[in-house]
Subunit: 174 residues, 2 copies
């Protein structure tokens, strides 16, 4: 953790101080394109998040969501098959029993290679997860729910602790 | 899954058909407040996602993100402590060794009850995870990365499959 922080700090000091101080107002100060949140973290005084290497917390969260979308797509396709294609539904269920859905991409890759029937199922899952995250998933709702959740949970944790310790105190005072 | 779908369908039929058909244009048709994506799914022809009970996929994803924000907050606080409060840092590391971070809220609840020193660490984690998800986390970037990831991964999966099967075919043709 520390060593990477030092490397980053030293990268900053490599920019010529003259340009950094005197020409800042006339020339746009853009030494690199900020692609990760770590870069912007240091520029705009966000909290430093260690341990993400070259990736960003956003990229890590996107990977989690990506696997989640695959899981959703499998559920959507299964529910559709169940109502009008029992044979394909049985194929899907049998495959699901033998293969974990933790890594969505590996699941799809394995499904593709199982048989030609399974391949068409896999292609449909790829299509559905793309359509789902682009059209159906409510991104604004995700943000709203997350911000509400952190407040609710923080309040609950503190309230539970206070009520627990105050009842212990009042009992010991008896 | 099916039974819950039937329950939902029967809920719909409980609305008086008269109001539903004739007064739709004059009166706003809002029989319930859509708080989950399942409700809107049925209203605006999104794909049906089974198996989420009363919750929505967005709520499930928000819970995942909530635990992720706690993990981030623990890393942020640890990195800060490491640089100026070695004693508290050691407390934190020892606690981390004994308690998993899978369930962020349980972790914080346990940390609060460990000792008064640990309690102040827990309160700081609560504060940091709230500030992080409200100010630092780049929500737009998360969406952008996720949409890009699904396209990239789908392309890669199909390309890998095609190149694999075409090379097998060309070998068998030799």
């Amino acid at each position: 953790m520390e060593s990477s922080a030092f490397v980053r700090a030293s990268q900053f000091s490599m920019f010529p101080p003259k340009r950094n101080s005197s020409n800042r107002d006339t020339l746009p100060f853009k030494p690199w394109k900020p692609t990760t949140s770590r870069s912007t973290t240091l520029q705009c005084h966000k909290m430093y998040v260690p341990g993400f290497g070259e990736a960003s917390p956003e990229a890590k969260a996107a990977k989690h969501l990506h696997d989640f979308f695959t899981y959703i797509a499998v559920r959507i396709v299964s529910a559709q098959l169940q109502s009008y294609n029992q044979e394909a539904y049985a194929d899907m269920m049998q495959f699901l029993e033998r293969h974990p859905l933790n890594d969505g991409d590996k699941f799809c890759a394995d499904l593709m290679r199982e048989s030609s029937r399974h391949k068409s199922l896999a292609l449909r899952i790829l299509e559905v997860r793309s359509a789902y995250c682009k059209s159906d998933f409510e991104w604004d709702n995700l943000k709203r729910l997350s911000l509400k959740m952190v407040d609710d949970r923080n309040t609950r944790l503190m309230r539970d602790y206070v009520s627990e310790t105050s009842s212990v105190k009042s009992e010991s005072e008896k």
